[in-house]
């Protein structure tokens, strides 16, 4: 049958995560090179890559509710924040001002996702009754409510301007902060974090792929395309909209928890409107409604500014000569990219990838 990759004898085979060997092959190649990178990259790049992977997870989350189920969500950053502080409470150390239970990573990581999901489910009755611009406005309001809570729940967040330390990095009671020795291989903390992020990203990435092909995923797509038609098809709008929000928040929460651990701490002011909008930008640049899109978008978002900064810094020009600071230049260029993408390739980086792939897939024809 290897000569007939397109001949499907069952629906199960047709809708499998990797329907053909080519995709399996590239997935494995990517995975092996991802593992390999860990041993050659400098700490600076390793942290950036870890960051990119985690941002991807959060972006997948937003992509599920917005790209897949078509519900505008301007408050994704808040859910990331909830995951962040949930992890800090569960896994962090208690001090005079903040509470903490010093749990294991295996507990606090899923729990922080679940708590974010729970909050998502709690607010979903409001959200699922609205659509379009109204939903956008409600979620916008939620950003400010969230900010307010973050600033004032000092016992959880450490308070505005101060923040708190991240959760402990321990698995099965083994403290990983000072690294880990496996045989004669010594892994730094950064490398461990990279691996954990990679593992979680792979699992959750396959999770998204699986979701897209499942009944739930198809229901989401039906709601996105036309909610009334979806309802007529027997899809329970309330239930599926809530589920999409819950899954989305779970992804956000998990990403938030690991992000905080990577950077060591977090200040409540981080999770403002701009932070939420960043994720929207990532999904747009990457390509909404796809699995690969947010991954492209996140890597672009994280690595591209780093590249610009590198270039600006190595140019040896002072700030006076450049008028803008490196951070400002980075923001301006990034903003330009968002505009350009919306005008020229609304399908995002994934769209470019898709066109390229089709160019070769249709060979020697054009369609």
């Amino acid at each position: 049958m290897s000569n007939r990759p397109d001949l499907y004898t069952s629906y199960r085979k047709e809708s499998s995560i990797f329907p053909n060997n080519t995709q399996k092959f590239w997935f494995i190649v990517l995975l092996i090179s991802a593992i390999f990178v860990c041993f050659v990259a400098s700490d600076y790049w390793l942290i950036l890559l870890t960051n990119a992977l985690l941002v991807s997870i959060a972006a997948w989350g937003l992509n599920i509710v917005s790209g897949l189920a078509g519900q505008i969500n301007l408050a994704h950053g808040v859910f990331v924040g909830i995951g962040t502080y949930a992890s800090a409470v569960m896994g962090g150390v208690a001090t005079r001002s903040v509470i903490g239970y010093e749990l294991d990573l295996l507990l606090w990581l899923p729990l922080s996702g679940l708590i974010a999901a729970l909050v998502g489910v709690l607010i979903s009755p409001i959200a699922v009754r609205l659509k379009g611009l109204n939903l956008g406005l409600v979620t916008l309001a939620f950003v400010f409510i969230g900010s307010h809570f973050f600033s004032n729940m000092v016992f959880v967040t450490g308070g505005s301007g101060l923040g708190r330390k991240a959760a402990n990095l321990q698995i099965f009671g083994i403290d990983l902060n000072s690294g880990l020795e496996i045989g004669n291989l010594f892994l730094q903390k950064n490398q461990i974090l990279y691996f954990i992020s990679l593992l979680v990203a792979v699992l959750l990435g396959i999770g998204v792929k699986n979701l897209v092909r499942s009944k739930t995923g198809r229901a989401f797509a039906a709601i996105r395309d036309r909610d009334i038609a979806a309802e007529a098809l027997g899809i329970n709008l309330f239930r599926f909209k809530s589920v999409s929000l819950a899954i989305s928040c779970f992804y956000g929460g998990v990403a938030g928890a690991l992000l905080m651990t990577t950077f060591g701490g977090a200040e409540p002011g981080t999770f403002n409107l701009l932070y939420s909008i960043t994720f929207i930008a990532i999904v747009i640049i990457g390509g909404a409604g796809t699995v690969l899109g947010p991954l492209f978008g996140s890597f672009f978002f994280v690595l591209f500014p780093a590249l610009i900064q590198n270039v600006v810094l190595s140019s040896n020009l002072s700030e006076q000569e450049l008028i803008l600071s490196p951070q400002q230049i980075e923001r301006v260029i990034f903003g330009l990219f968002i505009i350009l993408f919306l005008i020229f390739e609304p399908r995002g980086l994934w769209g470019i990838w898709f066109r390229l792939r089709n160019y070769f897939k249709a060979w020697p024809f054009s369609y």
Partner: protein, 613 residues
């Protein structure tokens, strides 16, 4: 693991057997082997040989239940689908006779075919075919039951004569459980001289004639499979069934060859999806008729026009390399090194991907038959590296007569005689064929039988041919040859095929019998000409409107001039457009999509007269 060599050597050792016996044998030896793959809602569901044989036996038992005895007839009126073959094998296994009807047969022809064959049971595919039979049922006293495969639209019908395939099989199963040796013991009785099926010729002139093909004919066809021109090199018996099984070519491939080599027959989802299904199945053996190859050729050229410059350039380069390679192969054989190198490059830059798109990637051997094909079309595929060989045969000789084969190809000829086939040319050039596959005669038509088979067993084919070296070349149907008023003999089919090489031309009928010069009627390929017109900003609405457009006429005239250059005999001086699409139901085409010359000449006599005014 059973390889094709094992299968072939087994056939050489044991000879051929009639299809129903073969199915029984495979079912007992390899019950799990996949017999059919049927595409439903995008998924290919598989049916094993065991299940195939079980169902065929149920059909046999149920037929017996409804009073179908030895030598009674049962007809199948359906597109290709597993039930077609299951019913066919079921009918043959109880020594009854299968009659095949074309799905496009209109009610009047259904009436003629069922009436002439005295069919007792009809298997009709769906509402469309059931309606045709019901319309003429009153005039068919022998018809006792109509079994339908698809119940959509038929469920509400009240006629007692109707029964669904599932109910029919359920009766068969019940009967089978009462006496499970019935079919096998009846099958033992079958003798080589028994008629297995009636194949009605499409009848370009007059009423269709029912050719009686015997079990012996089928056995003989089975026995020569390993030596046939189009079987060497097949690595894997995968087939796509799309040629009508009621036609001898489809039957030869699907029921004789595919079953004999224990192959898997894939059924396309529908006529419209053949191209896509072909790309999914990637069959290893591809029987083709000129019409399909012409369409593939035209489709490829048209789609290439839309491709980007780079792709166009690579296609052009690959075509040149492929042409060089194919010419070397024809001249020096397959082992020629320059041919291999150029072919390799052409494959890498373009043809491999193209073949995959067309579904020809795994084709080890392809045969073109059933009608003459223009050498340019064959060359196009050979350039692409598809091993395609033209063959020659007809209903009356079980479609086996001659064929080009790997290592022995001459374009424009139909090759050398198949194994055990004797060929002779009569004094007037008519091709005579003699072999054990020659049919028994026309059903209920002694006179026509006598005209076709002489007392020594020579079959008069009605085709005029000549030898080109050892290769046989068909000139034309004897009755179609044109003699101009200047006394020159012209073969219209050669010119017509040269015309049909153009992607824009679908139908061409050359006229000139007893006239001063040659002219032709042209039917355009609507999709492609329409696409061309869109590009040129030529507004158009219907087929007629497009045909009558002056720009289109200019385009066609240029295509005719090109065809004239290829033609060795007289050139075409004038043409007229046929302003309607030719159609089987209107009587313009035969069921196999061949133009009925006399009908068309009659219908469009005003156009013809206009040309010779």
């Amino acid at each position: 693991m059973l390889t094709m060599e094992n299968i072939f050597s087994e056939i050489i050792e044991n000879g051929g057997s009639t299809p129903c016996r073969k199915v029984n044998e495979i079912a007992s030896r390899f019950p799990e082997r996949v017999a059919f793959r049927d595409k439903r809602f995008g998924i290919w569901s598989e049916i094993s040989y065991q299940s195939f044989w079980d169902q065929a036996q149920w059909v046999g038992c149920a037929l017996n239940y409804f009073g179908v005895d030895r030598f009674d007839k049962a007809a199948v009126h359906s597109e290709n689908r597993p039930e077609w073959i299951i019913a066919d094998i079921g009918i043959q296994s109880i020594r009854a006779i299968t009659v095949g009807l074309y799905p496009t047969n209109p009610p009047s022809e259904v009436k003629y075919l069922l009436g002439h064959s005295e069919t007792k049971i009809l298997f009709a595919e769906d509402q469309e075919q059931v309606d045709k039979a019901l319309e003429v049922m009153d005039e068919l006293p022998n018809l006792q039951k109509i079994i339908y495969f698809e119940d959509r639209g038929v469920v509400s019908y009240k006629e007692d004569i109707l029964m669904s395939w599932d109910d029919f099989l359920a009766i068969g199963k019940e009967e089978y459980e009462k006496n499970n040796n019935f079919v096998t013991s009846r099958m033992e009785e079958i003798e080589s001289g028994d008629v297995a099926c009636l194949i009605y010729t499409s009848g370009t002139t007059g009423a269709p004639k029912g050719s009686m093909i015997s079990h012996g004919n089928l056995e003989w066809c089975g026995s020569i499979i390993p030596k046939l021109s189009f079987t060497p090199g097949i690595s894997n018996p995968e087939f796509l069934s799309y040629l009508p099984i009621c036609h001898i070519f489809g039957r030869l491939i699907d029921i004789i060859v595919a079953i004999h080599v224990m192959g898997t027959i894939n059924f396309a989802e529908s006529i419209d999806t053949v191209q896509r299904d072909l790309a999914e199945v990637q069959p290893s053996m591809f029987p083709a008729v000129p019409r399909i190859l012409e369409r593939m050729h035209a489709g490829t050229l048209v789609r290439m026009k839309d491709a980007s410059r780079l792709k166009k350039l690579l296609f052009a380069t690959a075509s040149k390399l492929g042409n060089f390679s194919a010419n070397r192969r024809l001249e020096y054989g397959d082992a020629d090194l320059p041919a291999k190198v150029t072919n390799f490059i052409a494959q890498v830059i373009c043809f491999r991907a193209l073949k995959k798109k067309l579904g020809l990637l795994n084709v080890d051997n392809a045969v073109s038959g059933a009608a003459p094909i223009a050498p340019e079309i064959l060359k196009f595929f050979m350039n692409m590296g598809v091993p395609i060989y033209e063959g020659y045969g007809m209903t009356e000789n079980s479609a086996v007569a001659t064929g080009n084969k790997p290592g022995s190809v001459k374009l424009g000829t139909v090759g050398v005689p198949q194994p055990d086939v004797e060929i002779r040319l009569a004094d007037d050039g008519e091709i005579l064929v003699r072999h054990p596959g020659v049919f028994l005669g026309y059903y209920k038509n002694e006179e026509a039988t006598k005209e076709t088979i002489d007392k020594d067993g020579w079959l008069y084919t009605g085709d005029v041919g000549e030898y080109d070296g050892e290769f046989l070349k068909i000139i034309d149907r004897k009755k179609d040859i044109i003699i101009t008023s200047g006394g020159k003999n012209v073969s219209p089919s050669e010119i017509e095929n040269n015309l049909k090489t153009s992607p824009y031309i679908k139908e061409a009928i050359v006229i000139g019998d007893d006239r001063k010069f040659l002219s032709c009627l042209i039917g355009i390929e609507y999709d492609i000409v329409s696409n061309w017109a869109l590009r040129k900003n030529i507004p158009h609405t219907t087929y007629r409107n497009l045909s009558e457009n002056e720009e289109v006429q200019k385009l066609i005239w240029n295509e005719i001039l090109k065809a004239n250059e290829l033609t060795s005999s007289l050139e075409l001086r004038k043409f007229r457009m046929i302003t309607k699409e030719l159609d089987h139901e209107d009587g313009d085409l035969t069921a196999t999509q061949k133009a009925k010359r006399n009908v068309i000449m009659d219908k469009f006599s005003d156009l013809i007269d206009d040309m010779y005014k």
